[in-house]
Symmetry: C2
């Protein structure tokens, strides 16, 4: 590991919630959003979460000349053979709203009985020491649930209103942010990634 | 997990040693080499080990219509800022022999003192349930060592004659195959991958 503590890390995301969460765990590294460097988003052409996360991290590392963290995530529904998967954010088309995507998902699952509506949120996070790092640190989080037949709750975003969380007996959109962050695919991936980065630093 | 035990898995490699090793651990799945299906090798255009492993697994899964396992591996040398990395097998040029690659590595490290010749073999193995699997199972193995200043030993292949293994006090090419397989980056990745595949099957 050639990068040291106090070295800045760029985050290939403009989401202030994500930045705060990562900063809290990786306290010894200042985390800066790529927007501070006017980085233009890269096209997510990968067919897997990990390929898309690497594309985003590489783009940020290249433009900012800093180590970079990126994530890619989505919803995988068994009855739809894994859809919407890597295109979760644009399931109903490019520029689709969360509502459009949820509506399409509910239509596709119309008539599918409860026990066959199993699904999971998946998040893959990567850390690249530089744009040409051949061996990114990779961490994955999986959050198992089931797709409801109508939307409930006001929190979160994306598919949260139709994602039933069995261990909480409510939809993801009914969970307070702190509870969701502790359980969610993204929270799990982040905890694993930061532990793996610290291992790599210590090596 | 929609694939069941007894389901064949194709291996994106023609190496009989790798096939035997994987078959021994994943006993409930017949492992078949992609050569049985006349699969044409895909070009390794990735800049990371995991991207190349995914390219190979996707290619095999697509052509064989079966779940697929692939790996990509290489040598990462600190004093060379990570080279030869993903181009380890063609470090001295396309079609280079093991000897050409080793000679180039020794030239590049000429004069670098022992304590700065740290290096590691890295292997990333992936399992894809089908060619469009958005979330491959990914396992990594790392084998730490140091680059010698001359080649020794007759076993193994690639950079084994110049890779000093501290815990065995000899070069990788001086280890019997069984010892190497138990310690090596590839052995570690394979053990992790098979454990993760079994977890996914059980889920």
């Amino acid at each position: 590991m050639t990068f040291s503590t106090l070295q800045k890390i760029v985050l290939a995301s403009g989401n202030p919630g994500k930045i705060r969460e990562i900063q809290a765990i990786l306290a010894e590294h200042p985390i800066v959003p790529q927007s501070e460097f006017n980085v233009v988003d890269v096209e997510e052409t990968g067919a897997t979460f990990v390929e898309n996360a690497i594309l985003k991290a590489r783009n940020a590392a290249l433009h900012c000349q800093l180590p970079a963290i990126a994530d890619d995530s989505g919803l995988v529904v068994d009855a739809l053979n894994g859809a919407p998967g890597v295109i979760s954010a644009r399931y109903a088309g490019v520029g689709a709203s969360d509502r459009d995507n949820v509506d399409k998902l509910l239509r596709e699952l119309d008539g599918v009985p409860d026990e066959l509506r199993t699904a999971r949120f998946i998040c893959v996070m990567v850390f690249m020491e530089h744009a040409y790092d051949p061996c990114p640190v990779i961490a994955q989080g999986v959050w198992e649930g089931r797709i409801l037949d109508h939307a409930v709750g006001e929190n979160g975003f994306g598919y949260d209103p139709v994602f039933w969380v069995p261990e909480q007996q409510c939809a993801s959109a009914q969970l307070p942010a702190a509870v969701k962050n502790a359980l969610s695919h993204r929270g799990q991936a982040l905890k694993r990634l930061t532990a793996l980065i610290k291992e790599r630093e210590a090596a």
